[in-house]
Amino acid sequence: MASVTFSDIQKTYPDGTRAVVDLNLEINDGEFVVFVGPSGCGKTTSLRMVAGLEDISDGELRIGDTVVNDMAPQQRDIAMVFQNYALYPHMSVFDNIAYPLESQGMKKGDIKERVARTAELLGLTEHLKRRPRNLSGGQRQRVAMGRAIVRQPQVFLMDEPLSNLDAKLRVQMRAEITRLQEQLGVTTIFVTHDQVEAMTMGDRIVVMRKGVLQQQGPPELLYDEPANLFVAEFIGSPAMNLFRGGLDDGAVVLGGQRLPLPERTLGSLAAYRGREVAVGIRPEHLVDPATVDGALPRLAAEVRFTETLPPERLIYASVEAPPVMTEDVLEIAKDVDAAAVERLEELEEKQSVLACARFDSSQGAPDRGRYEFAVVADRLHFFDLDTGAAIR
């Protein structure tokens, strides 16, 4: 087991595309770090550079104390789980798991013992003679894990290994990978597109965008204190509600509605008085007025529809206030679906935001019609509209 250190790492392709820009990151021994971001953000490229499958254009990459920039993948003592598992189709499950050990020149008896132990750990013992094509998705995933853990490498690299599984199996495998990583204590870099996976699995999350590290830290930190608009919008499901709002004396104005702000918040916003900022409200901070202290400011909205999935209910409501249409927000929308961008553009025309509130499913709320949410004003997030940086 070892640490992994990225120092000023750059990856530039021959056509000039910069896939990774000045990446500086220290991953501690035994840590589980998740790289997350939209397509083309540089997360997989970073992982492949650690694996040695991609050349490093500049900077220094260390595994433990060794600089590995010019080392072949075989010499790095790492193991990787690929998105499509890359199980050798012509080999049995046993041969697939044994392959890394054979490559090391281990004796046959020892290989047999190690493979048997690994198969037992992953519940694959009865499938050892089968070919990958005869296994289910979850079993294939386990074989890929087995091939990675069998030789006890210094670092595990996982490139979206759960993306081919159905939703239920994904949840199960998420837990299994976390359990295995804790049990084995091997430094792990896990790449994913899915921020829910990132939030639930990692000790630390690294958010990337266009090759640049946006923020890194524990899941709670990224959720509660996003460094910029991109992280705020990307982390969290449902996403943060974003409005364009003006700051006047002691309040933020969303459309025509004035939300008084606590003193502490006003202090950090002093420099932005009289200007427009991006205002972020997490869905759980739009609450039922009946359940809270009457002093909380109110935000009037038109409830459009609700989604009930006990124990919570998501309430979607239109708020007449201008939406945030910065490049960060559009990029995330584009990553979800081209139609999401069109929907945002429609809302921009109407100067309206489809906000989401997270209620307890036992709480009463209207299915449709006018409704006033209470806003937890001291949990609002503010961002500079030009730079996207959080205002604190």
Partner: protein, 275 residues
């Protein structure tokens, strides 16, 4: 509904059977003539033999030294096909996986090798091979066949390797295997369908080739079956019953091989990569 056996299906089947029977006509003549004595073979070559005369086979076997020629054919075809598979696959792997001007140029050269008829360079090739002492040797003829059919082998393999997902090789390299081991244990087994195509296609052509064997091996004890069969063709008279018996002997190994390996061959051709 679609599976119902109708009159139309019957008619279609009957037509197909008749067409298939037409393909058997030359084979019928081959067998019939090979079973007739000299005179009958000349007088009524198309009729059914009055008396089965198996002696043609033993005469052909002894007079043309078919046993030795059979071994020669096996050595020459086997050696050439093995070389075409071993060298062709490695060469194609390099061309497909190392993009660059060098690979493109090499690939184009191979394509050119398919287009240009080798007969154009036959005289200089003969002169060079004679100078190097390669005429009349197994090594020489194997080298010649390998060279002539290598562009075809490389062309087929390159197309297949290009379509092969890179992840298998990357997984192998990350698993600690050298490039050679990756090729031997991971890539080459995945190339099985195209290896089957190269083996069958080039194997049949080389097994049946008469022209090059005649030029480069005639007059030696290393002649393969087609040249040996030619022994019975004379300037003034040809013993067709013996020639046909010899042809049947030379066909036998190919037919036996096909009957035994039929299922695996078809699976190999049509299988692709099952992940």
């Amino acid at each position: 509904m679609g599976n119902r056996y109708t009159k139309r299906t019957f008619a279609r089947e009957l037509t197909l059977l008749l067409v298939a029977a037409i393909w058997w006509v030359p084979f019928y003549f081959l067998v019939v003539v090979s079973l007739k004595p000299d005179l009958e073979a000349l007088q009524s070559p198309l009729s059914f033999p009055k008396e089965i005369h198996l002696g043609n086979f033993s005469t052909a076997w002894h007079d043309a030294a078919l046993g030795r020629s059979l071994v020669n054919s096996l050595i020459i075809t086997g050696g050439s096909v093995l070389a075409l598979i071993a060298i062709g696959s490695i060469c194609a792997y390099t061309i497909a996986r190392r993009p660059g001007r060098m690979s493109t140029t090499l690939y184009l050269l191979f394509v050119l090798g398919i287009i240009l008829p080798f007969q154009l360079g036959l005289v200089p090739t003969y002169a060079v091979m004679r100078h190097l002492g390669l005429v009349g040797s197994y090594f020489g003829i194997i080298l010649l066949y390998t060279g002539i059919w290598m562009p075809f082998s490389v062309f087929l393999y390159t197309g297949f390797v290009r379509a092969l997902p890179k992840e298998y090789e990357e997984a192998s390299v990350v698993d600690g295997a050298s490039t050679l081991r990756t090729f031997r244990r991971v890539v080459f087994p995945l190339l099985r369908p195209v290896t089957g195509t190269v083996a069958i296609f080039t194997g049949l052509i080389i097994w049946n080739d008469f022209f090059l064997s005649l030029i480069f091996l005639n007059g030696t004890k290393k002649t393969p079956l087609p040249v040996a069969v030619y022994t019975f063709v004379g300037a003034f008279a040809s013993r067709w019953n013996l020639i046909f018996a010899a042809v049947i002997v030379s066909l036998a190994p190919v037919l036996i091989f096909f009957l035994v390996a039929q299922r695996q061959l078809i699976r190999g051709f049509t299988g692709g990569i099952k992940t």
